[in-house]
């Protein structure tokens, strides 16, 4: 446990250093992409637990991300002004759930407060994960991959085809999310730094939770399920229950990341729900070494940052596909566990 705290200390230090370095080089605009990468890292960390530890693959986590993002986006932008005299709306207003603001042109917008959006995002993601998790988690291996893939496609086509979700345009003009007075998740230029630290905070908390979970009885049970499911069951581990709980947890984390990123970006588009996004998360988890919190986090930050800065150009998705192939072939243990000395020795032996 001590070791965990030390590592988390180092993580905090690195996050602060990144900020200081980018500030000293006058490149604070990097922080925008870094913040986005941090939110994506949350999804990856959830998947590290689900895939790396419990051994259950999901090709549908972009779906949960989108459920989170779209729920809060729609609730915080849908204008209730024309219904403002309706009893229900009045009731909501009295309960303090609504938020009145003006748009760019001075028109009044009455919509739900982002807090309501966030809470509902998580609740809906958890409910959906519960409902599809019960039947789907009975499947194993390829079959589970296909079933979760199917779920991802359904979410994608729904957001793409529903006018409420803005179809191909997505939802824009999502207002900032005031967590506390003076502290809000928004894409405003002068709040860039504080937003980087807000996202960092969530990642550190997530890492803390993960490390504690992994080193607990629950973590042992998950590893057992991964290693030999029948044996785990005959050792008295309630495998179905553990798998479902981890699935729901990772879905909630993905939805949280989706909701926060939507407020940060001020909008969300259907590409966030696309299957390629799910594949990307899986590729990153694999590149990090599957059952590795630190590997997953490092790869999530690095690859997402490069992608968001546009280094991969229009080959973005191709790069992640290639990452998946290359990792599976040459570094199934993850990039961080490649041992250059060993490879050198092997090649010398061969020649």
């Amino acid at each position: 446990m001590r070791k965990g705290y030390l590592q988390i200390g180092i993580l905090c230090l690195v996050l602060v250093l990144i900020d200081l370095v980018s500030a000293s080089f006058g490149k604070t605009y990097y922080l925008t992409q870094l913040t986005m990468s941090l939110y994506y890292s949350l999804v990856v960390l959830g998947l590290v637990l689900l895939m790396g530890y419990a051994g259950q693959i999901s090709l549908g986590h972009a779906g949960f991300f989108a459920i989170g993002g779209y729920t809060t986006a729609v609730l915080s932008t849908y204008n209730l002004m024309k219904y403002k005299d309706a009893a229900v709306v009045k009731m909501f207003s009295k309960a303090g759930l609504l938020n009145l603001r003006e748009d760019l042109y001075g028109a009044e917008i009455l919509s739900f407060h982002p807090w309501v959006g966030i809470v509902l995002s998580l609740a809906i993601a958890a409910a959906v994960a519960y409902i599809i998790g019960i039947p789907v988690l009975k499947l194993k291996g390829h079959y589970l991959a296909m079933a979760t893939l199917g779920f991802g496609i359904i979410v994608y086509r729904i957001v793409l085809g529903t006018p409420l979700f803005g179809e191909a345009d997505g939802v824009s003009d999502v207002p900032p999310f005031n967590i506390l007075p003076g502290l809000s998740i928004s894409g405003e230029m002068d709040e860039r730094r504080i937003n980087y630290y807000i996202a960092s905070f969530f990642v550190v908390v997530m890492v803390y939770i993960l490390i504690n979970l992994i080193n607990s009885r629950v973590g042992r049970a998950l590893k057992a399920i991964h290693g030999a499911e029948d044996a785990a069951e005959s050792a008295g581990v309630d495998t179905a229950n553990y798998k479902l709980k981890v699935f729901i947890l990772s879905a909630i984390v993905a939805a949280l990341a989706g909701a926060f990123l939507t407020h940060f970006n001020g909008g969300i588009g259907p590409s966030e729900a696309s299957v390629m996004k799910s594949v990307r998360y899986v590729a990153i988890v694999a590149a990090g070494g599957m059952a590795s919190v630190w590997g997953g986090l490092t790869m999530a930050m690095l690859l997402n940052f490069l992608s968001l800065r546009g280094y991969f150009g229009s080959y973005d998705d191709a790069v992640f596909g290639a990452v998946l192939i290359v990792i599976m072939l040459f570094a199934p243990e993850g990039i961080l566990r490649i041992n250059p000395l060993k490879i050198l020795r092997m090649s010398i032996k061969k020649s």
């Binding site: 009885r217 049970a221 030999a228 005959s234 050792a235 008295g236 581990v237």
Partner: protein, 245 residues
């Protein structure tokens, strides 16, 4: 203690067990012998709840467990040592033992569980030496001891053993079987054992069943079965007809 009536079970559309009935009395060591594919493992998987039977009834201490989930069955006191040992290879010996106690957390105190781990170490001193080693790095015999130790951590009354001799050297097989007898003597443990190694299994058990293509063909005291001509020919590698020609 365990009563099985007319169990039928299988995979997909293939029926493996055909109306199998058997019983195990408290304190007994009962062995089931049979060739590859006779349904021995399927039978143990069905008893332990890993496989749902198509029909029939399984009772453990009077309670119907035919459709009870595995984890509940372990809680009731019936633990399985699975075929091929299936230790959790990426975890240490100690972690494997802790996992065996999963059903006891929240019920027993932590000290009791720790004490039982020490007790397992007393029983299998070789596990104590390898406490912090990963289970995947153990030898086959040690893995078998670990698998048995893991099942014992759940404090079962009935231990189901699936081919403990599989892939082990003859001297190790003997050692493992000695442990099984000791467990009965020291703990009063009831054991249901499935084996291809008929000779060793019959030697340590009180009663035995012979299973062939999913049917129980014979039942009797182990000593009697050892003398049985058919059993000798089919499972003990002796052809009496030829010997007396």
């Amino acid at each position: 203690m365990l009563k099985i009536r007319n169990i039928e079970a299988g995979y997909g559309s293939i029926k493996v067990l055909r109306k199998v009935s058997l019983h195990v009395n408290p304190g007994e060591i009962v062995t089931i012998i049979g060739a590859n594919g006779a349904g021995k493992t399927t039978l143990l998987r069905t008893i332990s709840g890993l496989l749902r039977p198509w029909s029939g009834e399984i009772k453990f201490n009077g309670e119907d467990i035919t459709r009870t989930p595995t984890e509940r069955i372990v809680r009731l006191g019936c633990a399985l040592v699975p075929e091929g040992r299936q230790v959790f290879s990426t975890m240490t010996v100690r972690e494997n033992l802790m996992l065996g106690a999963t059903v006891r957390f929240g019920k027993d105190r932590r000290e009791d569980i720790e004490r039982d781990i020490e007790w397992i170490y007393d029983l299998f001193p070789r596990l104590a030496e390898r406490e912090t080693q990963l289970a995947g790095t153990l030898s086959g015999g040690e893995q078998q001891m670990l698998a048995i130790g893991r099942a014992l951590m759940a404090k079962p009354e009935l231990l189901l053993l699936d081919e403990p001799s599989m892939g082990l050297a003859p001297t190790i097989v003997k050692e493992i079987f000695n442990y099984i007898v000791r467990l009965r003597e020291e703990l009063g443990l009831t054991v249901l054992l499935v084996e291809q190694n008929a000779r060793s299994a019959l030697k340590v058990s009180d009663r035995a069943y012979v299973i062939e293509t999913g049917r129980i063909m014979l039942e009797g005291r182990s000593e009697d079965l050892m003398q049985n001509r058919d059993v000798q020919r089919a499972y003990l590698g002796r052809d009496l007809d030829r010997e007396f020609v």
